[in-house]
Amino acid sequence: MSNMILLGTRKGTVIFDRTNGAWRPRKIVHEGIPVCYATSDPRDGTLWASLDHGHWGPKLSRSRDGGATWEDAPVKYPEGARYIVKVLPTPDFDPEAPVGEPEYAPATVYKIWNLAFGSVDQPGRIYAGTIPGGLFVSNDGGESWELNRPLWNHESRGGDLFAGDATSENRWQGTPASVDYGVFEPGIHSIIVDPRDPDHIYVAVSTAGVIETTDGGRTWQGRSRGMLNDYSPDPEAEWVHDPHFVTSCAGQPDHLWQQNHCGVFYSDDGARNWRKVSAPDAGVHFGFPVAADAQDGRTAWVVPARSDMERMAIAGGLFVARTSDGGQSWQAFRDGLPQDNAYDIVLRHALDAAGDCLCFGSTTGNVYLSEDRGETWQCLGNNYPPVYSVRFG
């Protein structure tokens, strides 16, 4: 059973410890600094927080002494890394207008959105996903980082822009999460390393889709078949998808779950095929996070929200939905969660599962914990800053 929970919040990193069966928060660290993701490395216990400094640039912060002291681990794009600028469509956007020449921009890290860790046989291997759409790899515990160039130079993004101008069309779109930085660029928010084979990795991009490598990042293939983007002229087009979060079952890694802008999607064949398993009549459709059971690939949890113009709790009440049959049916659990005047949204990284425990935090600063697989909930606090991420340590 996990004895630590890390929250990334609008005002710092909150760590809960479980002592004698009770969860207690420590004094907040990174005080006043937005932390978009906080997690721990299961291999050596190093704690990581992705800081979203407003003025001073995004930084990774690392603690090798259980949270007593923290140090920076900067992530930087290499010289020559460029991308094709995406422009946020304005109300007068004319889709029929001729496409002009691409505009290029040198890449800079706007946000370090997600972290994942290599296998136990790769002790220093860490992955970081950014806005604008870079996958960085460290082989020395975060001392240095290298941009994965085959993904950055993928033909779906325009080809090798280190070498020259675009040789193909940039099909990746921006994520609204980038607008705060004055840009409209894609972001990698999900990184999944296959426990059976560390060269087998999935990333998910808002907005492009799911992408897989089976050769340690030398080549990448889109894996969005079956995903449907309802608001696109062609809902099945390869690169139009907005997965909000993608995760897999650790014990059955071919079982992947995805909370998408346009529904909940499930794959039981390693993302070769996705199928929509939403239950809109039960409220299970729109949302941001999804958590998969570590043993049973057919079991997952979501925290549904009201789609999608409003982005708030459904009918003023929070609930968690669980499936144990691959999304054929969903069970809603409300015991211990507010059912009146609740407006909470749970963001993409703000739900996690570990054994029988689940925890989520909301943009309203409420944190809830279940120790019985989501069936009943206890409140860990109502006055936290807006919660961006929740991870068991």
């Binding site: 400094h53 003025h55 001073w56 640039g57 900067p74 800079t108």
Partner: protein
């Protein structure tokens, strides 16, 4: 030698710069910032992006003049100059 002043917010991350007069050899703005980085390693990561340009929400002035060359930081800082580094404030 030029003097460097900065928002106290940066002292939180670089306490070695607090409660002291920071003087550095004369040179370009880029050279001045590198000299500050020698005193407080990592400092330039906070005020410059990976291309060596001033971060979008950072302002730097020489005496009372805000530098225009934010990309290459080529402005010369005179021997009696004061470089000030502060946040771009947008209200709220």
């Amino acid at each position: 030698m030029p003097t460097v002043e900065m928002t106290r917010h940066l002292y939180r991350f670089f306490p070695a710069l607090e409660n002291r007069t920071i003087t550095v050899p004369t040179g370009s703005v880029a050279e001045v910032l590198r000299a500050v980085n020698d005193i407080a390693p990592g400092f330039t990561d906070y005020v410059l992006d990976e291309h060596g340009a001033l971060r979008r929400h950072v302002i730097l002035s020489i005496n009372d003049t805000i530098v225009i060359d934010r990309k290459t930081l080529s402005d010369h800082v005179p021997d009696d100059g004061t470089v000030s580094i502060f946040q771009a404030l947008s209200g709220g």
